[in-house]
Structure formats: structure tokens, C-alpha cells
Symmetry: C2
DNA sequence: TGTTAGCACTCAAAATTACAGAGTGCTAAC
DNA sequence: GTTAGCACTCTGTAATTTTGAGTGCTAACA
């Protein structure tokens, strides 16, 4: 039985065994181990021959001449795509842990990252939902005192933006009312992309003397769409990488932790994840496949969750290439579901 | 010449030399090194005698029997308090680097942490200013749609808080106006501590049917004072600790980095720093003196900066005990000044 | 009396050696 | 096609030696 990757059934079984064994131990695995580990009833010598083939095909490799084999990125890829079966796992526990402190979204997401990290023993990240394409729901200007006006802008998913605007001379109540009216009638229900230069010019014209204020308000609106501005990323368990010797040398550890501290790179990961639409929304990057160069020695698993409003956020798990993919994918799916549920319950 | 610590001038010079040398190299320093390093013109044997005394007095210690000496916490303390002279340093550069991207306070502080980290090669943190004791400047309720009201609260230092409040039935414009009036006349200019139960009861009574909304607004106000809620801590250069072998073993590195990731402990550090008022606002914690247990093998230097409005924030530098105190203190003072300047300029 | 030269001693770190064990590839026999 | 067997390779570890920096102490010196 040969499928498109050109591997015999027996080779597949051996590859599977090598990878599973390596996932557990983190040590190169030799032919003798496999010959006992599997139900193939083959001698180590036979296994050796097969393994030599598998190495030639690029699925496994030797760290040095007389060591066992470890999976290559290609090997992991085949494993994740085809070989792995998903584990069963006890449910409910995660949810309980999460509902515990979940009074605010921010807290909730932080907590989610934390639970996921302690649940998997890998490093995790959760991004706040992003207003991908969003509509203005409400705009309001109010005088704070004689010199300052505050602009409050509410967007689709109840995302709120403020801006304090300095003015030279106080606005009369009447004028304030007019401005509010003008802004709301013109902009409400409008998607941010629809606000173009023509519209802006028209608005300013109608605002007359107060065109300065209008342009400040529009600045605030512009800020609101700035993705990086309003996307927060919560991380947890970065130090988990120290549990895996292959990632704990100073060099790798520094790179990974740096990526976690300066969230810049994680932002990129989120962006890429959201861009690439897949069925389940779950993606696995192995080694060099990752969009984040600092994590080239890791595997990265990402998933998206939705708020219904078109708001999407990302969950990520970062661990060694020999991560427990079955467990991770399972946990990921559960968290995804639970976040979905929670947000829809709140809705 | 003997001062209150009971050390002869010569012993002081030797201690100074030991510490300075150790700061540079990170290696235990021996008597022969000192005898060459100083202008005392003493033989190594004499130095040895003095060093034995210094060890007995607890200022220096030996990692093992036949090694040189390293400073103890007590030794560092003496050094920081008395021995150290401040270095001259070229000015201007830091400011330029900072003004670069400083369009918003958040960005500014992030940038400050970053600059400080790259300038000192230690890990740094900057906390956003906190409204220690703050007054309500302005409250405004507005209808977003038929089911939701948004409450905007502006506090002393232009800190803005929002809360979206669900209501069962729409408020009429008139009622909204009344409520706004009521809230503003009652609460404006009021310090948060002044809002007590009596006041709340009175407010609710006056609000009549809408007492529910009032209590939601007050909840939002309560949130506003929650320190932890609105204090953000930005960190940078956590990976700098890997530059110092004495902190790079897995154990210590994990602890420190964990403190940086879960900001909880840093929050404590900030609180303590703000509580303890000193002349310059700069404090040095050496080893076990630190309020953060995870950093017991480090030295922590903190400073506060002010926004004039009674808003205070904290800057922190975390490094090995053998950190370059002169440089650090200098940098700290400069950053302190520059933040002060910037915020007052903006004011 | 304080300073110094000299020496025996200590200890950690580095280098050296030896050894065991895991694993391989190849060959020859089944 | 499978397997047993063997020679060979390589790593990791443990044991051992070497090296060198540094100390404390003693005795001589100014």
C-alpha cells in the first residue's frame, strides 16, 4: 500500500514510531528501540535498513554518525498532516479554571493564556480581538473645560476610543450640538474604509470655523483603525521553554524570550495567522515554516477565535519541535470553542 | 583617618579597588591584582592581611578557600553609599533617541525603557503614571443606541475611563440631560476618596428610577481608582541578563524572566518605590534588600518621575549585583529629568 | 611595629585518559 | 527479503592529572 508520499506502510509505521518515541524522550531513537516498540516483529537490522531509506528521503536524520535518528521538519510535517490521531481528553476543567476570574475581557484573555500555558507546559500568547473591518457606531464630543474637548468614538465591537482635543476658544453649547449632529449623521454606520478624502473635505466645509476640531476627530478615528494600537498581546509561560534542553541554551532562549518581550514579532504572527484562512482556523508551523524568525527552532501552533462581530483574535502556542501535537491541538480547539462560547454568551 | 564605619583609609582604598575590579571582570579578585591596580605601593602580602580583615568585617568574601575575594552585599552597600563617584557622560543623545518616536505617552514610555536598556545593558521597566489621589474632572453619559449608554469619566491627569452600561429601556434625552447634570454637579472636582456611602445613597435617591445607571457609573469610577487596572508596565531588555554569567543559569534566569512576564511582582516593586519617599527619588536595592524575591541575586535601581498633577511613575533597572552603579545612577537621573521636562512641556 | 619575601598548601577549572554503551553499516547466511 | 553477527564510530561520563591562581603563615627586614 503506497500513497502519494511514496512511503510503504511499513516505513510509515517506523517513521511514526520514531517520532512518537522522540516526542516522549527527546533523545535520538535507535533501531533496537523501534524493533521492540512496534508490533511489526522485525529485527533491528531490518529496521536499520528501513531507517537508512527514511533518512535518504529526508524524513529523519542523525545528529552524528553513530547516534539514533531524530525527525526532520519534513518528518514532523508528515506526522502532523497524516500520522497523528487526536487524543481524548477530559473536558470541563479548563472552563472552570477560566470562569474563575473572568470578569473582564482583558482578565479573561490573560487568564486564558495562563491556563493554556500551565495546561500544556509550553509558552503561549493570546491577542485581543481586532476590528478587522469596522463600523462607526457613535461619536460624541463634549467639553471637559474651557480649553479641552473630549471626543469619544464607539466602534462596532464596542471598542471605545478617546481623544482629548485642545481648542483655542470655548465652543458654545449650540455649536457643540451642531458639530455632534454633523459628525453623527455623516459618519454613523460608516465603515472606516469608506471615509475618504472627499468625505473629509465635505465635512470640514460644513463644520466651517470648527474644521480644526473635525480634523482632530478624524485623526482619532484614524488612530482607531491602527491595528497595532489597539491590539494587545498577552503572553504566559515563556519560561516553559527552559523545560526543553534543546531550547534552553543561551542563544535560543534569548531569541525566543526576546520575541515574547518585544511583542512586535508576535504581532506579525497574529497578522499572518488572521490573513491565512483555513477551515478550522488552526495552523501548525514547524521549524523554518514559522513567520517569526526568532522561533525557527520551535514549532508554533496558532488558532483564531471569533466574536461574531467580525472581530477576530489569535491564540498561539510556542514549544519545541517535538511538542505533543496531539495534546496541543486538542487544547487549542477546546480553548477556541470556549472563547467563542463565552463571548457569544456575553453578547 | 577613620570614619563611622570603622575602616582605615587604606582599607577603604583596598575595598574600593576590589569592588571596582570585580565590577569590571566579574571574577574574584586576588591580592596581587590589587597590589598592582592601586597606587598604594603595597606588596600582595600586606594586601592579603588587610583583605583578611575586610573579610572578617563582612565587606568581602571568598567563593572558596583559595580564590580571590568578591564583594558582599554589605560591601556593595558601602560602595554605593560612599565610595562611588559619578561618572561624566555625554548628554543629548538619549533625548534625541527618545523624541524620535514620542508621539504618544505609551509609545514614549516604551521607548524610554528601550533606550535605557540599550544604554545600560541591563533589564529595564517603566510604569505608567498613577493617579495616586485624583479628582474627577468631568463625567458624561451618552446613548450609544437604544440599549446601551456609555459613561466617560475624565480624571485629574486627563486619565479617561469608559464604561458601557446596558439599560432595559431607552433614556429620554431629557432624562439623560438631568442625569448628566446631577452627576456633574455632585461629583465634579471631587477626590475619589471623598465618595462615600452617604454620598452614593444621596445620589441614588436623586436619580430615582435611574439609580441603576448611577450605580453603574459609580462602579466605573471605582474601577478608575483600581491602581492595578490602569497601571501598565513596559519592560525592555530582559534578555540582557544573559550577558552576565552569574544570572544566566537556568534557575536564576527563569525567575527573573518570569517576574518580567507576569508583571505582578513588578507592580509590587513600583508600589514600594512610590511609597518610600526619598530626596532624589532614587533607590538602590542590593541583593536581598529587594522587595521582589525573584530578584534576590540582582541589584535593582528605581526612580520616580512626576507629571506635576500628582501623577507619579517609576523607572527601574535590574541587573547583576556587580552592575555599573555609577553609570546606572547617572542614566537614571537623566531619564528622570527628561521625562519630567517632556511632560511639563506637553502640559 | 608594620611591611615584605618566601614557601607550603588548597582548591577549582581545564586537560587528559580510559571506558562503557548505544548505534550504525556491511556481509554472509538463512 | 530478513536476520545474526561483527567491526567500527562516536558520545558521554567518570576518573585522573595538571595547572595556576590565590591563600595563610612564618621569618626576616627596616
Amino acid at each position: 500500500m503506497i500513497s502519494e508520499h511514496g512511503l510503504s506502510d511499513r516505513k510509515l509505521k517506523i517513521l511514526h514510531a520514531v517520532i512518537q518515541n522522540y516526542l516522549e524522550t527527546g533523545e535520538p531513537v535507535g533501531s533496537r528501540t523501534i524493533s521492540k516498540y512496534t508490533d511489526l516483529n522485525l529485527s533491528s537490522a531490518t529496521i536499520r535498513n528501513e531507517m537508512a531509506d527514511l533518512e535518504e528521503l529526508g524524513y529523519i536524520m542523525q545528529p552524528h554518525t553513530s547516534a539514533g535518528r531524530i525527525p526532520s521538519d519534513k518528518g514532523y510535517r508528515l506526522y502532523v498532516d497524516m500520522l497523528m490521531e487526536e487524543k481524548e481528553q477530559e473536558l470541563g476543567e479548563l472552563q472552570e479554571q477560566m470562569l474563575d476570574k473572568a470578569d473582564r475581557m482583558e482578565q479573561l484573555l490573560k487568564q486564558a493564556a495562563r491556563v493554556l500555558a500551565s495546561n500544556t507546559n509550553y509558552a503561549t500568547m493570546v491577542s485581543t480581538p481586532m476590528n478587522h473591518s469596522n463600523k462607526i457606531k457613535f461619536i460624541q464630543l463634549s467639553m471637559v473645560d474651557d480649553e479641552q474637548v473630549i471626543a469619544v468614538i464607539v466602534l462596532g465591537g464596542n471598542v471605545i476610543k478617546n481623544k482629548i482635543i485642545r481648542i483655542e476658544e470655548p465652543l458654545s453649547n449650540e455649536n457643540l450640538l451642531k458639530l455632534n449632529m454633523l459628525l453623527n449623521t455623516t459618519l454613523n454606520g460608516m465603515a472606516i474604509e469608506e471615509i475618504n478624502l472627499g468625505l473629509i473635505a465635505r465635512l470640514k466645509e460644513q463644520a466651517g470655523v470648527h474644521s480644526g476640531v473635525v480634523s482632530d476627530v478624524l485623526d482619532a478615528v484614524a488612530d482607531a483603525i491602527q491595528i497595532d494600537e489597539d491590539m494587545q498581546i498577552y503572553t504566559s509561560g515563556a519560561t516553559n521553554i527552559f523545560k526543553y534542553p534543546e531550547l534552553s541554551d543561551n542563544q535560543s532562549a534569548q531569541e525566543i524570550i526576546n520575541a515574547f518581550e518585544e511583542k512586535q514579532q508576535l504581532t506579525e504572527l497574529v497578522t499572518q495567522t488572521l490573513a491565512k484562512e483555513e477551515n478550522t482556523g488552526i495552523q501548525v508551523y514547524i521549524g523554518n515554516e514559522t513567520p517569526v524568525q526568532n522561533m525557527k527552532d520551535c514549532s508554533v501552533v496558532t488558532a483564531t477565535y471569533e466574536l461574531g462581530d467580525g472581530m477576530k483574535g489569535t491564540i498561539g502556542i510556542i514549544g519545541p519541535k517535538r511538542m505533543d501535537y496531539e495534546h496541543v491541538l486538542k487544547s487549542m480547539k477546546r480553548l477556541q470553542n470556549e472563547l467563542d462560547q463565552m463571548f457569544h454568551k456575553k453578547e
